[in-house]
């Protein structure tokens, strides 16, 4: 696989290129830095009708701050982008696309990616790399770039991407088009997640090579009330309602990518009083969802850990989504960590 991308060989996409009309001087070339969080699989993944009346494949990610990707980009005038580690070719492609769309046809540079996100578990490692890389590029050039713009670039760089670039902001995201189908105008309500890899000895899932689910017509319709409940969950800031959506989506996904021990996991979820069960729809990550304000939460999480151990799951982690009120509506700044 080639690790270099010739920037000047890329056709400029529409939209962003108009910015070069401003002809803002970038001054001397300086290194840029970008960060992107991983996600912990999806609260919902399925199909939904867009405002154009067409069905789109969509998802709602659960942002996860324990895993992240950091990118340092040192631009030069070589018109060639070189990435390290060299196999992260999607990130170099993303940087080349970003440079090109910003009108910097002569620029290239060296990219260093540092990430603790395991690959193939369904944590969105490649979109996190790509998002951090695009942010690093924009940062190096003192350009502001919105999550919507990042998504448009990311989907070109890797055919399908998840909604990592929106950070904690909750969106119904069309992963194959890189567009927001519905903006819930809020962050994901606060949740505590007990996460684990349901197939710790497996080889993971090739998320891009994985064939898209062929949902039945009934399942396609069933996503409507699920999205409806997400709207109500956001307005009530309800972990319980989010958990119900998550469990339902995980149940449908069992027809397309079965989660190991799914029946056991459902039973553990009910037994310990978790609000829901959550899975990566293209991966092996799963999680039990808890209400962070539940006074019995600590005990429920401990009980769940004990029960998970009995089905062979040893390695677990706990994190919370921030749930901070309304997300910002202004444009994200340069190299901003989580896009809020």
């Amino acid at each position: 696989m080639e690790s270099q991308f010739r920037n000047d060989a890329i056709v400029c996409p529409e939209g962003l290129s108009s910015r070069s009309d401003f002809n803002r001087p970038t001054g001397t070339l300086k290194p840029g830095h970008g960060v992107a969080l991983a996600h912990h699989g999806e609260l919902l993944q399925g199909v939904f009708e867009g405002t154009d009346g067409r069905l789109k494949r969509v998802l709602v990610s659960i942002p996860c701050g324990i895993f992240k990707s950091e990118v340092r980009f040192v631009p030069d005038d070589s018109a060639v982008v070189e990435v390290e580690p060299h196999w992260k070719i999607k990130s170099s492609r993303a940087i080349a696309l970003t440079l090109n769309s910003l009108g910097k046809h002569k620029l290239g540079g060296r990219v260093q990616i540092r990430s603790n996100i395991p690959v193939g578990w369904g944590l969105g490692s490649s979109t996190s790399d790509v998002t951090a890389a695009i942010r690093a590029t924009a940062n190096a050039l003192n350009e502001r770039i919105t999550p919507h713009e990042i998504a448009a670039l990311a989907v070109r760089a890797e055919t399908a991407c998840d909604s990592t670039m929106f950070g904690e902001r909750m969106v119904l995201f069309a992963q194959r088009e890189g567009i927001v189908v519905e903006d819930f105008r809020s962050s994901l309500p606060k949740l505590e997640v007990l996460g684990f890899n349901a197939s710790p000895n497996g080889n993971g899932v090739d998320t891009i090579g994985f064939p898209p689910a062929r949902y039945s017509w009934w399942e396609i319709e069933a996503f409507r009330p699920m999205v409806g409940l997400l709207r109500q969950a956001v307005s009530l800031r309800s972990p319980q309602l989010l958990g119900q959506v998550s469990s339902a989506s995980a149940t449908i996904n069992q027809h397309y990518l079965p989660t190991p021990h799914f029946q056991n996991l459902k039973e553990i979820c009910a037994e310990v009083g978790a609000v829901g069960l959550q899975v990566a729809h293209t991966g092996t990550i799963a999680g039990l969802l808890f209400d962070p304000h539940d006074p019995l939460k600590e005990r429920r999480v401990e009980d769940a850990q004990t029960l998970l151990t009995t089905i062979g799951i040893k390695h677990m982690w706990v994190f919370q989504t921030s749930g901070n009120g309304l997300a910002h509506t202004k444009k994200a700044g340069n190299g901003n960590g989580n896009g809020n």
Binding site: R224, P225, V227, L229
Partner: protein, 348 residues
Amino acid sequence: MAMATSKITPTVVESVMLPKLIRLDHNLYGAAFFLMKLLPARFILDRARDAGLLHDGSVIIETTSGTFGLALAMLCKLRNYKLFIVSDPAIDPPLQRRLEDLGTTVEIVREPSPTGGFQQARLDRMNELRDAHPGHFWPAQYSNPHNPGAYAPFAELLTESIGKVDCLVGSVGSGGSVCGTGSYLRLLFPQLKVVGVDTHGSVIFGHPDQKRMLRGLGNSLMPANVNHSVFDEIHWVNAASGLSATRALHRQHALYMGPTSGAAYLVARWWAKRNPDAKVVVVLPDEGYRYQDTVYDDQWLQEQNLLLADLPEEPVCVKHPLEAGTEWSCIDWNRHTYEQIMGAPFQV
């Protein structure tokens, strides 16, 4: 439905197909439809169109004497399909005129079949028409899975507006609205209670077929679309109670709905009072204008001996469908099949 960006709809169907949600008590929500059958009629025609079964000018044939025919007639007019409806003398003349005004050909079967009565005679005539029109489409509301499947937008409205629903109450006629909505909601709320409302003399939940005074719910035939194991509880509401409850819905809540709505309201009101912590949704399928000279006329009610001074307070609970007398009755159906309750599969 995707969030509307415009208040202007392409046709009347999109603007009225979803119900208004009205709070009838602290834990009871009425879903008041203009014409509920627009949902299944639209979904059935959409799926047939997507499957390449319908084209401009296609012939559609159905047998019905109720509101499904009206919904089909509206859609067929708007979409330029040629609709044939086979009905019997029970169809009310204003409805027939309305169908014909929409360009529908209405055929009235005048003589009952020696075996199977008017229902059979209607099916026989429909089959003649189907033979005469090759390439036609038959919506088949009693057996087409797209009938129950049509209710996801309604379920979406409920989850978006109410959140968690604990109990769904609705009249059962074709098995579409209650089985369909219940199945979609139960994917999210596995504990959801589904309460079906039937009437005495309807075969759906195990009564022998008899003449029914309360129309619009129940059936003389067993619709394949009724999934018995969806139901936790079944009620049989008689005509006097159902019609009085229809009037109560109007007098107390100013909701001018049809008798199927009244029967469902009677049961839902009782259920909601007994379960004050549960959120209860009652399906109110159509408006009352077709019943101005009957249900909404005290003199007519009196002549039919259907005028009640007070609504019955509670049902008589029975252990077997055949134990249900003539009064409002109920049974714990417990998500069983017909055969599990009756001891044998349904016999035609």
